[in-house]
């Protein structure tokens, strides 16, 4: 008969999660910030509700994310930003290719783009209202103007960096303009263009949302300014958190899709 010995298990070790020092520091910073926030909320040093408790902000975040009207406003803003990027991005790309492809045109016009690019675009909003009305049109226009400059400047820079051999190969195959753009220029300048779109997305988002806060009756910008006007601070914090998460997420997603992370690593 086979001996039935006792199943011997290795000595049980106490369960311990080993955190790296970086993660530990991050966790400590987060805990310190949250504790400081909660202490400030409870202290009454600032006006009441200016710094609401984390529970109130979490509750507002939960309520906002469950509210169907929030998704209507989110959809409106996403639509405006999407159209703005399409218009501003494509026109910026066309202008960038034209400027980058011709030294003469670049010297004639690029300085204007370079210096107009960093100007505060929101000051054009009164003009956009007159041209496109108070509806989504003026917000799309604000986003498109904001997006145009980084895309155009990056595309022009990228165009100049294309290996001349590639261009000569395209010409030797007698490629027409469209084939040159789609087969040679765009694939070769993919990284600067994606980088331009990434920058363009950030500024289009700012342009559109600021325009919504100034004059609108829909969109996330409108919700933020509405929360301000009725002094619903937890909701304002919740909306800002959602906005930051979306914008940082979209930024990093475009970077990953365009392979910018791999460039940085290399």
């Amino acid at each position: 008969m086979a001996a039935t010995g006792r199943l011997s298990l290795p000595a049980a070790r106490p369960f311990r999660v080993r955190l790296g020092p970086v993660i530990s520091v991050r966790i400590m910073i987060i805990i310190a910030v949250l504790a400081g926030w909660e202490a400030l909320a409870a202290s009454g040093l600032l006006y009441r509700d200016v710094v609401p408790s984390l529970v109130a902000i979490g509750g507002a975040l939960f309520t906002t994310l469950r509210d169907p009207t929030f998704y209507f406003h989110l959809g409106t803003t996403a639509y405006e930003i999407g159209i703005a990027i399409l218009i501003g991005g494509l026109s910026g790309l066309a202008v960038g290719i034209a400027l980058g492809g011709s030294r003469f045109l670049s010297r004639a016009y690029e300085a204007y783009l370079y210096y107009l690019g960093p100007c505060p675009k929101i000051i054009f909003f009164p003009i956009m209202i007159m041209w496109f009305g108070v509806g989504p049109g003026s917000k799309v226009a604000m986003g498109a103007i904001s997006c145009f400059f980084p895309v155009a400047l990056n595309a022009a820079g990228g165009m100049r960096e294309i290996d001349k051999v590639l261009i000569r190969v395209g010409r030797s195959f007698r490629a027409n303009t469209w084939q040159m753009v789609s087969k040679i220029y765009l694939p070769a300048m993919r990284h600067p263009v994606i980088n331009g779109v990434r920058l363009g997305l950030g500024v289009a988002l700012i342009g559109t949302l600021l325009a919504e806060t100034k004059l609108s009756n829909r969109g996330i910008g409108f919700l933020v300014i509405q929360a301000y006007s009725i002094f619903n601070m937890p909701q304002m914090y919740a909306l800002l958190i959602i906005l930051f998460v979306i914008s940082i997420g979209a930024n990093s997603l475009i970077g990953r899709i365009g392979g910018l992370e791999s460039i940085k690593r290399s």
Partner: protein, 256 residues
Amino acid sequence: MTAAALAKNRYAPAALGVISILVSIGVIETFIRIGLINRFIVPMPSDIIAAFPRVIVEEHVLQRFLLTAGEAFSACILVTIFGVAGGVLLHRYHLLRLATETWVAAIAAAPLVLMYPLYLVIFGRSAVTIVMMGFTAGLAPIILKTLEGLSGTRRVLIDVGKSFNLTRSQQFWKILFPAALPTIFVGLRLGLIFALINIVGIEFLINFGGLGQLINELAERYDLPGTYAAICFVILVSICVFIIMERLERWLRPAD
């Protein structure tokens, strides 16, 4: 002159740029005069040019400019002090840098200007809100560029400092900081531009302060030539500031 000769001419491209703008202005003026463009939506360029002296004198542009410049200066001082100090701190404590550098980069990419309603609640509708908004927008680029500059100091320079038995403070002031200055200046220029953009933008949005408020006021009065003139004025001022900053950066940058 042939096309090839024109392309090689030093002044031809710049002349083409200026001529194109003048022709565009002339075309718009003509279209408005013949009624192709509604003059109640787009004022005539001649009216806009004529509105410049009125806007400058009647709307106290100089005082407004000084107010905006004062706000920008205050924000610049704040971002320079806290930005450079933040960069030095992250460089000094490596673990802290590893833990927070990506956060700072994420903050730099976040649409921080949308926090202005929050700042309105905290600081009120005042110049403090505008200055703090400029400070918030300009801080992250300066921290990141200071860090980049300090980290990019050549190893041989640091070793020279060590061979001279320099103290930590001497090592910083004699080696690290001078070596990082060119990159810090790039960060300062970026940060100051971000601050300036946000300051004018917030002035416009909250209808308070200098040049940004001027545009808002004129637009609310439906003074179209005045609004366009004020926008052109702000753009010209912005361009002048950017050019000055660029020149200053080149001037201050030590020879590589």
